[in-house]
Subunit: 381 residues, 2 copies
């Protein structure tokens, strides 16, 4: 199968390396890049060269960002080409539009690499759904934030120092907000929830990051028996669903609380199979490239994934309820729901909040004390 690659950065480079060395039935025929970035006879700077080339059966989008990725994906699908993408932002924003165009054109649209890097996560959700209803999903879905929290805990280091180290290693971007504020995880959570629950997950789920986490916080939580991880969680029942992204306090002696370095882990809970967890490299040239080449092999074998969104589930924030710990110099508003208890000097636990209520409370406290920290004491399967 002849493919064209949009973008030859980290992930695109991984795709080229794996296809050239390990997938003899595939051929990277064209590569779209910006002028001066990649020296290869297959390079073009003009997307029209690709979309008008009838010998190209599949377009692999590894550019990132909303535009021109959105336009190029739509034009590729409309031209009757399969599309494989690793772009979580564009898929979280436009999944129904992409699926409708793929169906109309009779081609495949593949999204394994958007969530969990090399972990076969989307395919595993789809497989589980053949038999089971999936009632809950959760996961550590951002390697950069996991690396930061894990190194802070193991080295006794401060957030800013580890962030600088992660940036030097190439684990974190110069502008790290997508990773540390939960935006990247939110996109993956929206995609995963949509595939798992069969309903289109809303885009404005409650999202709270780890920017304000300190070494002293980790020490305090360890004293209470907890590790911290930035996690996505989502749940459904017969007629509703909820999803969120937030720091979660996990028992020190738990699987998630011991996920090291920049690894990811994702969990689904199915009716008959129970909890299944999937662990691996959530980013990087070769792991994410591997996920894209797995999609390409499926595509060449005739698979045409379908992500049904026909279930009508309403937004039901009460499905995600937990106790939340706040470290803040601000006073709790008088109308704070639940009961507040001091669990350590300077740390107050508010019982039984929904993730939506907790995020709203955190926003109110942050307006008064910008260093406020929030974390959920959530049950993770």
């Amino acid at each position: 199968m002849r493919i064209a690659l949009l973008g030859a950065g980290t992930v695109g480079g991984g795709v080229i390396e794996i296809v050239d060395s390990r997938a003899p039935s595939l051929e990277v025929a064209r590569i779209l890049t910006l002028p001066g970035t990649y020296d290869d006879p297959r390079v073009t700077y003009d997307f029209a060269d690709i979309v008008s080339d009838d010998s190209i059966e599949c377009v692999v989008e590894a550019m990132g960002g909303l535009e021109p990725a959105h336009t190029f994906i739509m034009e590729s699908l409309a031209a009757g080409k399969h599309v494989v993408t690793a772009n979580k932002a564009v898929v979280a924003a436009f999944l129904p539009e992409f699926c409708a165009q793929a169906e109309e054109s009779g081609v495949g649209f593949f999204i394994e690499a958007t969530s969990g890097g090399g972990i076969p996560w989307i395919a595993s959700i789809e497989k589980a759904r053949r038999i089971d209803r999936i009632d809950r999903i959760s996961g550590i879905l951002n390697g950069t934030s996991n690396y930061i929290v894990d190194r802070m805990a193991k080295d006794g280091a401060e957030f800013t120092d580890v962030l600088a180290q992660a940036q030097a290693l190439g684990y974190a971007e110069a502008d790290p907000s997508a990773d540390i504020d939960g935006i990247d995880v939110a996109n993956k959570c929206i995609i995963s929830s949509t595939v798992a629950f069969g309903t289109l997950c809303r885009r404005d789920i409650p999202v709270h990051g780890i920017r304000n986490l300190t070494k002293a916080d980790l020490d305090t939580f360890a004293g209470l028996g907890y590790a911290v991880r930035l996690m996505a969680r989502a749940a459904r029942d017969d007629d509703g669903y909820a999803a969120c992204v937030e720091p979660v306090l996990l028992p020190l002696a738990s699987v998630e609380g011991n996920v090291p370095d920049n690894f990811n882990i994702a969990t689904l809970v199915g009716t008959t199979v129970g909890p299944l967890k999937f662990y691996g490299q959530g980013a990087g040239a070769l792991p994410t490239g591997n996920a894209m080449v797995q999609d390409l092999v499926d595509c060449a074998g005739g698979e045409r994934p379908v992500y049904p969104t026909g279930e009508t589930l309403s937004w039901k924030p009460g499905l995600l309820r937990a106790d939340y710990v706040f470290r803040t110099a601000a006073a709790l508003p008088a109308d704070t729901p639940g009961t507040a208890v001091e669990v350590a000097p300077g740390y107050v636990s508010v019982g039984g909040l929904s993730a939506t209520e907790a995020a709203a409370l955190a926003d109110a406290l942050l307006a008064e004390d910008p260093a406020t920290l929030m974390a959920a004491v959530a049950d993770v399967d």
Copy 2:
């Protein structure tokens, strides 16, 4: 697709429940049981009723044991019926014979449920191999032994007390030796290694169980920073492979060292994807039934798995090398390889043994002191 079920015990009952409630395209048409064990109009006591029934397309073997399972599988395949099995003992013993007959008859032979219960482990190995060479696998593949070790550590209980509790809960058999002596894990390790490495794994791999593990051992190891788990490990290089089953000392702050209750976890390491871990219920009616129904859905969809064994890899015990800790009243033989160091009162570490050398040393020590304990300080991916 009309199927016949051989055996209506725990796993067979799970298959019936899942097919009847969640898989409308499948029909359990006949059920082979012993007289008096299961009351259902579909029951027969005579395998000839099934093998001669041309309307039965697939036979689901959930009897366990070598015979008559081996004969019934071979006759089903020879009669042109697909076979789905959960029977690790018969697959570890006869996989090449089954595969040859399936190929000759042009039918499918499915083994997902033999290893890791509800975890999509065999399918994940096969998928990873489409692109990567798999260099190592490892795993906690026996729920009973994991339950025993986890409860011993968490409750400060002795082996025999937790074993009795596991037997009362139905997690352990009246004769627990297959679980606690590593025999069950060895069968799963042989099957997994064969599928992962593409070579037929020998049947007499070194196997050592947890029968002699005491509460005092767990306390000592915890003091050294280690948890204990019964694990399978296997590795290959360009021309050789090795595999073993033994107790392994894992860092207290590791994923494997925190796998709770009767859960399983299995790891593969691929060339480009790196380490991938898969976690879930390794046994039980619904999880194992789920794995069999997943195989049935694949079978009905036309999939015909192939487990190639064409790679000629020689047995190379040196590929699995580690330090081993022994607690024994026996004296180490004068010809013990490696260097011995006391790591705690009564516990000696012998450096750099292959798993084969360690098992031989353990056997020699056990002949003198039947309470001898052995555990590997092995790197787990």
